[in-house]
Amino acid sequence: MAELILNRQFFVNVIKDMAELVEKEKDHLTKLDSDIGDGDHGVNLSIGFRETMKQLELINSQAPDISSFLKKVGMILLGKVGGSSGPLYGGFFIKAGADVQGKDEVTFEELIGMIENGVNSILQRGKAQVGDKTMVDAFVPGLNVLKDSTDLKPIERFAAFVEQMKKGAESTIPLVAKKGRAMRLGERSVGHKDPGAESSWMLMEVILNNLKKIVGE
């Protein structure tokens, strides 16, 4: 099997599908956030991705490489999503592109590095740890699986990553929130899934689905 190469169109498709996902899951995410937060997570993401879709053609045509394209996407999310998830997800995309400057296609291994950079940006920005009941509870264990399961084929490997993130999101249910707005609820946050943990595995699943399309599964 030839090496898995991801071109710029791959990333454009991913963003389009993420925008579609967010519209579909908006109410679900907002509902989760109204249980333990301020009930705007789905709305926040929707505002950001709608603006991204509006500008997608333009930024795609202007960006010289994948790095710039993702930086622009991240900037729009930064400016429009607001709240906590704005800088977190915005930073994720900006940093994901940071190491692939000048490239118009990347390898699967490079994609893993991009995701690692993105997750590191979330950790650095939010300073949350696993167990704080945030998206970090999905991303960190997921990323460990993604990096470690070098024995698996790309699709299986990425599927294991998403699967682990999904478990990580489930794992937030019994936790007491230690970061973000849910913190103020203290013990009362127990029994609810963290909305950001939920949105994060869903967004990563969009990448998985696009990988599958490429390898023609």
Binding site: M75, G79, P87, L88
Partner: protein, 331 residues
């Protein structure tokens, strides 16, 4: 909700337009970005000083833009952090090549968004550094923060970092003096009535006719305790006690005092509180170098006050005394 506004969604934009209309020779507004800058930015050979945060704390922060204090202020929606692209706009506007210093209040959203903006600015080759102000001794962690919140003490950071920058100091020197202020400034607040964010339309909390909330923040987030309304003297004692526990002061020390109104407190009451704070300090042999009484860091129309003490050394005294000319603070 009773407010003199046109529409809850336009309050921030219209307020900034009204501010710049009042000071057309001193301030300008970056269109559509809710960024207010000195009219003469970038000021050659000066570290640019910026601050910002959610709106609803007026005159913080746009009221402190001017000679000797801030070069720019970035306004978020009411009680909501501004976004990195706005902040980046401010950084670019004020950078003269000597770097930009950010005064950030310790709220998770603010810290994340300012950091993000700093990284973006650095990618564009602008040197950026920051200080995180966490003067509120009331709580270690709150709804909005990890660690202590930044409240009225922030204005003293603006003043002192601003004066240092105006003297031509380097970014590192501005940072050093700002951190010295943060290390030596402590605040504690209380309220007797809540505020109503325009877009929310209802009060942030309710208090009985005879209750007060001690140690609350400037977004109506809960305080450390709810008590029966006490006298002004008792309130002054309680607030200063908390500060002394955290930052022991001894006879011979010198401080600057800020008695800050939260928005709806008659000045009469602030001066009555200052009377007692002044007595308490004098009894302890602590020198009062300067006193600021007024609405410096508000919470819309909340009624209540905070007390801030800043322990001074000679450098801080000189910088506090330096010239400043902004809409809300003149020296």
């Amino acid at each position: 909700m009773k407010k003199i506004i046109n529409h809850p969604e336009r309050v921030v934009t219209e307020m900034l337009e009204g501010l710049v209309a009042a000071y057309p020779n001193q301030l300008k507004l970056i269109d559509g970005r809710a960024v207010v800058t000195r009219k003469d930015v970038p000021v050659a050979n000066k570290v640019g000083i910026i601050s910002g945060g959610g709106s609803g704390h007026e005159p913080a922060h746009a009221g402190y833009v001017g000679q000797g204090m801030l070069d720019a202020a970035v306004a978020g929606e009411v009680f909501t952090s501004p976004t990195p692209d706005q902040i980046l706009e401010a950084i670019k506007a004020v950078d003269s090549g000597k770097g930009v210093f950010m005064v950030v209040k310790n709220y998770t959203g603010d810290v994340m968004n300012f950091d993000m903006a700093a990284e973006l600015a650095e990618m564009e080759g602008i040197q950026v550094d920051k200080v995180v102000v966490n003067d509120d001794v009331a709580v270690e962690d709150s709804t909005f923060t990890t660690g202590r919140r930044g409240i009225a003490g922030t204005i003293l950071v603006h003043k002192i970092a601003g004066a240092k920058a105006e003297m031509g100091a380097t970014l590192a020197d501005v940072k050093a003096v700002a951190e010295k202020v943060v290390k030596n400034v402590r605040s504690m607040g209380m309220a007797i009535s809540p505020c109503t964010p325009p877009a929310v339309g209802k009060p942030s909390f309710t208090l009985g006719e005879n209750e007060m909330e001690i140690g609350l923040g400037i977004h109506g987030e809960p305080g450390t305790k709810r008590k029966t309304l006490a006298t002004a003297d008792e309130i002054a004692e309680e607030l200063t006690d908390h500060i002394f526990k955290d930052m022991p002061l001894s006879s011979g020390d010198e401080v600057a005092v800020m008695i800050n109104g939260l928005g709806a407190t008659p000045e009469m009451e602030l001066f009555i509180v200052n009377r007692k704070v002044n007595q308490i300090l004098k009894e302890k042999g602590i020198g009062v170098y300067e006193t600021f009484v007024g609405n410096f860091m508000t919470s819309l129309e909340m009624a209540g006050c905070s007390v801030t003490l800043l322990k001074l050394d000679d450098e801080l005294k000189d910088l506090l005394a330096a010239h400043a000319n902004t809409p809300a603070f003149k020296k």
